[in-house]
């Protein structure tokens, strides 16, 4: 083993339900300062429930230890590099947490009078303005709760605009390298997804699109740089082609960490794009969420944006609900406000120059990893790449070692795996995005681990195929889980 990891004792811990016993409690309530109400009388006896069978009963220290022990079974960005391609797992600065937890923000009720919510509205306005500047777009809605929700909102906007022009059209083109959320969103927006093949170097070709952009096509959804980390060289001409034919250009901003401060989608012809505040703008991923997926648009889409819109009236911020052409709401209230606070704090800490520097550092780190790994792993493209690099497992596959195996072995070296088997256009893909927040020291440890695994794949493939070896949980039987799904705990028969 090298310098990043070694094994240590970890605590066992049963499920909450298995450590429960009647009468234990971790809760306290103050005495009632009003007369009690009899539930059966107030609600009617039929409407009152029996006890919640199986619900936990544990003490405070048991609750704390339970979740602390569980926590120790997780890998996290706080423990080290998370080279997940297209996920942009960067360091989450704690100042962002601190400001999001300020009492006046944390306890703000979404319906408190606007006069008493000016602080929240000012934060949202500042974030909208910053995101418009970073993307080169004209207007921003903060309502979508995550990237995929932003995609859906963006496609709704495209459909609404085209409907207002008399024909919503039928198809949305999606490159074969796209994230799965793209085609899934297309379906939910009432469109049919059509696959656009990439050329050998991993880019879309104008000639292909010349053929595919028919009168039926509402939009092209592009991720730029794409999921190979390659900037679409013909993007401005692609935008022109779409616009000439009455179609629109949607950009998935999952990879904005390669562009912030360097190039603006609004300047290269994008009409609608979503951002992932939990990627580019460093808000913590929280084990799967929450995220936030603002959508930035060109002026023509403004009347269609979700209600309410933030407006300036009589020198203060207000929420405008009177938007007759709006697509309506995509979520109750105004979006994941707490995530917006964190993202704005991140933008404020960096400023324009800092964002540009962060982008260049992210590209530098990816270029460095690519350069150092190319002798050992097969690059997926010869084209220059930006914030991430993709390899194929073809060299290791000759020894029966696949990308999923290499990923699992990486765990033994103290790293989270890269993104496995994506994009789908690369055979056995290893997709690596180091982000700008990793030091050369951490990158070198990662590279060395990858090189050692490449050697192991040749010399002792079985070692790699059966990894990880040093985790408290070894490879899990996902097939068994899917064949007979057990998705909740139930008391064992015969036990009390």
């Amino acid at each position: 083993m090298n310098g990043k990891a070694r094994t240590h004792v970890s605590q066992n811990e049963p499920l909450l339900f298995e450590i429960s016993s009647p009468g234990k409690r971790a809760w306290q309530l103050p005495p009632l300062d009003v007369p009690p109400a009899d539930p059966a009388e107030a609600l009617g006896p039929d409407r009152v429930r029996a006890e919640i069978a199986g619900f936990p009963e544990v003490s405070e220290v048991e609750a704390l230890r339970h979740f602390t022990r569980l926590a120790s079974w997780n890998y996290a960005i706080d423990l080290g590099m998370y080279p997940l391609g297209s996920c942009t797992m960067k360091y989450n600065p704690r100042i962002n947490e601190a400001v999001a937890n300020l009492e006046g923000l944390l306890w703000a009720h979404p319906y408190q009078p606007e006069s008493l919510a000016q602080g929240c509205l000012e934060i949202m306005a500042a974030l909208e303005a910053a995101l418009a500047e970073i993307t080169g777009m004209d207007a921003v809605t903060l309502q979508p709760a995550a990237g995929a929700h932003g995609e859906l909102t963006g496609l709704f906007l495209i459909r609404a605009l085209l409907e207002s022009r008399g024909n919503p059209r039928r198809k949305v083109l999606v490159p074969d390298s796209a994230h799965g959320t793209n085609p899934a969103s297309v379906t939910m927006a009432g469109y049919v997804a059509e696959n656009v093949p990439s050329c050998e170097r991993g880019m879309m070709e104008l000639a292909t699109l010349e053929r595919m952009v028919t009168e039926d096509v509402a939009a092209l959804m592009v991720t730029n740089p794409n999921t190979l980390g390659v900037f679409e060289q013909e993007i401005t001409r692609i935008a022109e082609l779409l616009h000439e034919r009455g179609a629109l250009l949607y950009m998935d901003g999952a990879n904005m960490n390669a562009l912030a401060g360097i190039a603006r989608p609004g300047d290269f012809g994008v009409d609608v794009l979503h951002l992932n505040l939990h990627k580019t703008f460093s808000t913590p991923h929280g084990g799967g969420g929450p995220g936030s997926g603002p959508v930035a648009v060109k002026r023509i889409f403004e009347p269609f944006l979700p209600v309410p819109r933030l407006v300036r009236r009589d020198n203060r911020w207000a929420l405008d609900y009177d938007r007759p052409q709006s697509i309506g709401r995509v979520r109750a209230f105004y979006g994941n406000f707490g995530v917006m606070v964190r993202a704005l704090a991140y933008i404020m800490a960096h400023g324009g120059e800092g964002l540009r520097k962060a982008t260049l550092d992210a590209v530098l780190n990816a270029a460095y990893v690519r350069k150092r790994l190319e002798p050992y792993y097969e690059p997926a493209t010869t084209a220059p790449t930006l914030h991430e690099c993709v390899f194929s497992d073809v060299r290791q596959a000759r020894h029966g070692v696949r990308t999923g195996d290499i990923a699992k072995r990486l765990i033994d070296y103290g790293f989270h795996p890269y993104t496995v088997s994506f994009p789908l256009i690369v055979r056995g893909a290893l997709m690596i995005e180091p982000t700008e927040t990793e030091s050369k020291l951490e990158l070198d440890l990662f590279v060395e681990a990858m090189i050692r695994i490449a050697r192991e794949a040749e010399e002792d493939p079985e070692l790699v195929r059966t990894a990880p070896h040093h985790t408290r949980t070894s490879r899990v039987d996902e097939a068994a889980a899917a064949r007979r799904p057990v998705v909740r705990w139930r008391p064992q028969p015969g036990c009390p």
Binding site: W27, Q112, M188, G287, V487
Partner: protein, 424 residues
């Protein structure tokens, strides 16, 4: 590192981009600030908001006490800064917590399967409607008018693009309950789902069984929506529903000006393959030890792409963890005691004002105002109290009424102030 790459400057890294796309000027943003300055700026914003006010707003966002353990656990870096638990071997903490979450949601709702979370209650309700359409092969959605107005707007947006017709079912003007005769008349052969909220937007507890009978008679599914999760500590679970879609904000999730919250969808085992979002399942590792992993992923976008049950990817995991810790802290007895305190407080306040509806209620109710609700609220604001939500904006016929909510955090002296303002 530049030398290792044979480059002279960072700029060389992006020199291959087409010249016309490169931004030739600095971004027009204020210069980077120190931690000290950032904290100061946000503190000033926080102070522009209401603080130290008593508050009687509910309507989908509730003020409940947040046990200290919740933030202690949810701010641990191993939960806060981990990714989606696709790599089971190094994500057992998150996976186990989600499995416990799913279990507790089933115990609370009387359902058999719960997902790992949705964005919020409104999108959970909309996705439950789409799920019902997949299961039944039908298109029509009937929504109770007593479902949260903003939830209805979200359902309408989703349904419009899915080309699914939506109709709204009336409420009884006396009780504030769903008008079952009107519902019966609206449910037809093409109805996929009936969506009913309980306690409803007016705080009134609905007859879920009667709604289920009407829906089932025509082959439609009943989706029961909840916005006030604490009510489940006391109310009979909506076990007659086919799908339950709810918002867990009441479980120690801060109001945070509307989000992030955590929605959830729960259902019967027979519909497990149609549920959107992530699911955690139990399995074994190669050494035979119990372990958890994400399961039935073939429902999801990253595998089934355009044929997926939903496009959802990122969910609200950390927020759902807060709810998990909350449910653990209160537990079986505590949640009931908490719910009973809510009931007592709301009923104390309600007895002192003129109630608009006669139906049974939990911790919210509609009050008739003697003058414009906005004027009543103005009086209260001067006394440090944020009053109720004026309803005219959502229900023109209830102009002159406000929705009031009392929780365990509402103090008697403030409730007396509200009662006083509503008496004059």
């Amino acid at each position: 590192m530049l030398a290792a790459l044979g480059l002279n400057s960072l700029e060389d890294l992006v020199a291959h981009l087409p010249p016309e796309v490169l931004l030739r000027r600095p971004l027009d943003l204020p210069p980077g600030k120190s931690e000290y300055e950032i904290a100061g700026w946000f503190r000033a914003r926080a102070e522009e908001n209401a603080s130290a006010y008593a508050c009687f707003l509910g309507a989908g966002a509730y003020r409940h006490y947040r046990p200290v353990l919740v933030d202690v656990i949810a701010s641990r870096g191993e939960f806060l800064t981990s990714y989606t638990p696709y790599q089971a071997e190094i994500s057992q903490g998150t996976l186990t917590a989600i499995f416990e979450f799913q279990t507790m949601i089933c115990q609370l709702t009387g359902m058999e399967v719960a997902n790992a979370s949705m964005y919020d209650g409104s999108t959970a309700a909309a996705e439950a409607a789409l799920m019902a359409a997949r299961i039944t092969g039908r298109r029509g959605i009937v929504v109770a008018r007593t479902l949260h107005p903003e939830y209805r707007e979200v359902i309408r947006t989703y349904a419009r693009f899915a080309q699914m017709p939506v109709t709204e079912s009336a409420y009884e003007p006396e009780s504030g309950n769903l008008d079952l005769a009107d519902l019966e008349a609206r449910v037809g052969e093409d109805t996929a789902a009936v969506l009913v909220q309980s306690p409803n937007f007016f705080g009134v507890v609905e007859d879920v069984r009667a709604a289920a009978e009407i829906a089932h008679r025509r082959g439609a599914l009943l989706v029961v929506v909840f916005t006030e999760a604490v009510s489940l500590g006391l109310l009979a679970p909506p076990a007659d529903a086919d799908i339950v879609a709810g918002e867990l904000q009441s479980f120690a999730i801060p109001p945070s000006y509307g989000g992030p919250y955590a929605g959830v969808i729960a259902t019967r085992e027979q519909h497990i393959r149609q549920i959107p979002g992530r699911l955690v399942g139990e399995t074994r590792d190669t050494r035979g030890r119990r372990a958890y992993c994400l399961t039935l992923a073939t429902r999801e976008q990253h595998i089934r792409r355009e044929k997926a049950t939903s496009n959802i990817c990122t969910n609200q995991a950390l927020v759902a963890l807060m709810a998990t810790v909350f449910m653990t802290v209160y537990g079986k007895e505590g949640l009931r005691q908490l719910a009973e305190q809510n009931l007592a407080k709301a009923h104390y306040l309600a007895r002192r004002v003129s109630r608009r509806f006669s139906g049974p209620f939990f911790n919210e109710f509609v009050a008739v105002c003697p003058r414009a609700p906005e004027a009543v609220n103005q009086t209260l604001l001067e006394k440090g109290v944020i009053g109720g939500l004026p309803l005219g904006r959502f229900y023109p016929e209830l102009d002159g009424c406000m929705l009031l909510c009392a929780t365990e955090m509402s103090r008697r002296e403030h409730m007396d102030l509200v009662a006083e303002a509503l008496a004059s």
